[in-house]
Symmetry: C2
Subunit: 342 residues, 2 copies
């Protein structure tokens, strides 16, 4: 079905060695010969067999992504698709393959070691780190090049990660609401076992503390970030004796839920009640225009995917390039969902 190097060499009356070198740009091959080989390869639609190549070179030319399968998890979420898309762009450009493994929750740790032991990948990206996540220590021990999308507190040594500044981001957004006179600010967060959610909470609490406001447990929630979750949070919190005048949401999806809950009660965003959300710039949930619908802390998760991929590739190709870290700042965009406290 497909041509092999040997066949190609035979058809040219050359040795496999020469053909290989011609195609891989080695200097010791005659320019004329190289041209001839390249033409022939083109014509025969020759593509080197990936497996043979990586067997011979010892490099897999592939990066692994492991995602837990359970539906109860935060991570099979829209974020994931965009991040993957961003990372995939870079892999394609760099001649790397992306291999994705969907595994049951408890097999997750095992999956990384397995991928590496089988020589299937040169490095892995860790998704959805939890505050207390054993994977980082595990991977460090295995000696696998890896990069974490996010961070964790459970590492006992420096490691490579790419994260957004969740804490500062939410602190600043909370301050923004405080400046508008809001004092009852709700936090509708993702599961706080997830590192990103814990950091957002920390930023929120920090801003409240600075303003001398005691956090109210009734105004803080955590759960997987679905639309109905946001809806319920809005409904229930607004029925409190002392309801919030503003909400912080951990994702656009949750914010949509909040919005629906509030509008069901006849409340208008920006006038009666305010919302600030985090916006990952997902392609099908754009928050754009002259005046975006939501005031938001914004950061493109697709761009994060691109950067993460680039970082991991340098870790892979330049061993010992040490732990690489990058903290992306978010921007605070002003939208129609915020206004002064009533």
């Amino acid at each position: 079905m497909s041509v092999t190097l040997k066949q190609l060499a035979a058809s040219l009356g050359l040795s496999p060695t020469t053909v290989s070198r011609a195609l891989n740009g080695f200097p010791e091959v005659n320019a004329a010969t190289r041209e001839r080989v390249k033409k022939a390869a083109e014509r025969a639609n020759y593509h080197p067999n990936t497996r043979a190549k990586s067997l011979a070179t010892g490099r897999a030319q592939a990066i692994g992504h492991v995602i837990p399968a359970s539906t109860s998890h935060e991570i099979v979420n829209p974020i994931f698709a965009d991040f993957i898309a961003g990372a995939g762009e870079i892999y394609s450009q760099s001649g790397y393959e992306m291999i994705l493994r969907v595994v049951a929750d408890d097999d997750e740790e095992h999956a990384y070691g397995d991928l590496m032991a089988r020589g299937a990948v040169d490095g892995v990206i860790v998704h959805g780190p939890r505050t207390d996540d054993r994977r980082v220590a595990l991977l460090a021990e295995l000696g696998v090049p890896f990069l974490v999308h996010g961070r964790t507190s459970a590492a006992n040594a420096p490691y490579s990660w790419l994260d957004i500044n969740n804490q500062r981001s939410f602190r600043r957004a909370t301050q923004f609401l405080l400046d508008f006179g809001h004092r009852r600010i709700a936090l509708v967060n993702g599961l706080e076992a997830m590192d990103f959610a814990a950091r957002r909470r920390a930023g929120y609490l920090e801003a409240l503390a600075e303003a001398g406001i005691l956090p109210d447990p009734h105004l803080m929630r955590q759960a997987p970030m679905t639309e109905p979750y946001g809806h319920r949070a809005a409904q229930e919190m607004m029925q409190l004796p002392d309801p919030p005048t503003a909400f912080m949401a951990s994702s656009m999806i949750v914010a949509y839920g909040l919005r629906r809950g509030l509008s069901d009660m006849g409340l208008k965003l920006g006038r009666d009640v305010s919302i600030v959300t985090h916006d990952d710039e997902l392609s099908y949930l754009p928050n754009e225009g002259d005046v975006p619908m939501f005031t938001a802390t914004r950061s493109s998760v697709r761009e994060a995917g691109r950067r993460a991929a680039r970082m991991l590739l340098t870790l892979v190709t330049q061993p010992g390039s040490g732990p690489l870290t990058e903290l992306m700042e978010t921007s605070l965009v002003l939208g129609a969902s915020t206004g002064p406290a009533r």
Copy 2:
């Protein structure tokens, strides 16, 4: 770093042949020996090198998925993540790897041939088929085992696909609205170059025709399925001299947009205006409860992913098992978003 078969064999005083056969369950190896080998393999944390294995066997033990990278496209959408998750489950169970390629739009066709020629995969799944899609003919010509998620009209020979019955689904949903007395029914569709959208449109038109209603171009829209798209459609259509009393939406996301647009105008779903949407059962956009928020044609895209993977695997492992096709019916679930026409 990792043990090889040869090393393992040496440490046991056996030949690689015997160790290989012992681990792969061949009958001609002594039961005691097999046990001994298995124990040793376990202890040494031996995992056969995937690349070497597939080089030797000629099977890649991997399935390819190609997704176009452009943001303008329908396909980098939430659907994709859930479908992948479903398919990935099956691959993991079956010992297959999933390799994902994100490519620029115009490289898409090339990517399939490339994957196969390099021997990187045993088969591919085609995502987001368009009404007129050259990929199917291309792949058939290449002799690659493939399965289409959806269908296309551009095939000149039978091919394997898994699809939901979009046409019947939308026809039935439209009839449902007609039965409620609606006569002005809008269609807020995905891009109709996409096969699924074209079929939904056909179903919608069919139902209208049966009821003797002439379709009104002002009530039919197509675009990438974002939330703002739904919002705008609702706003603009409701300002028509003769506005619709009901909407058909192609996805939950669009339905959310419609809902927001309508509620902005003080209209209540199910009372003032009706919506029926298609619901892919995405995990973070659940449409559940005793009375779901939206009346919907429902079908789990995650389950579709599982089935598609199973089908492709049989195509791969049993060559000549002929074109396999499956048409999944959707269920019509009644929610709070529909009511009699006013």
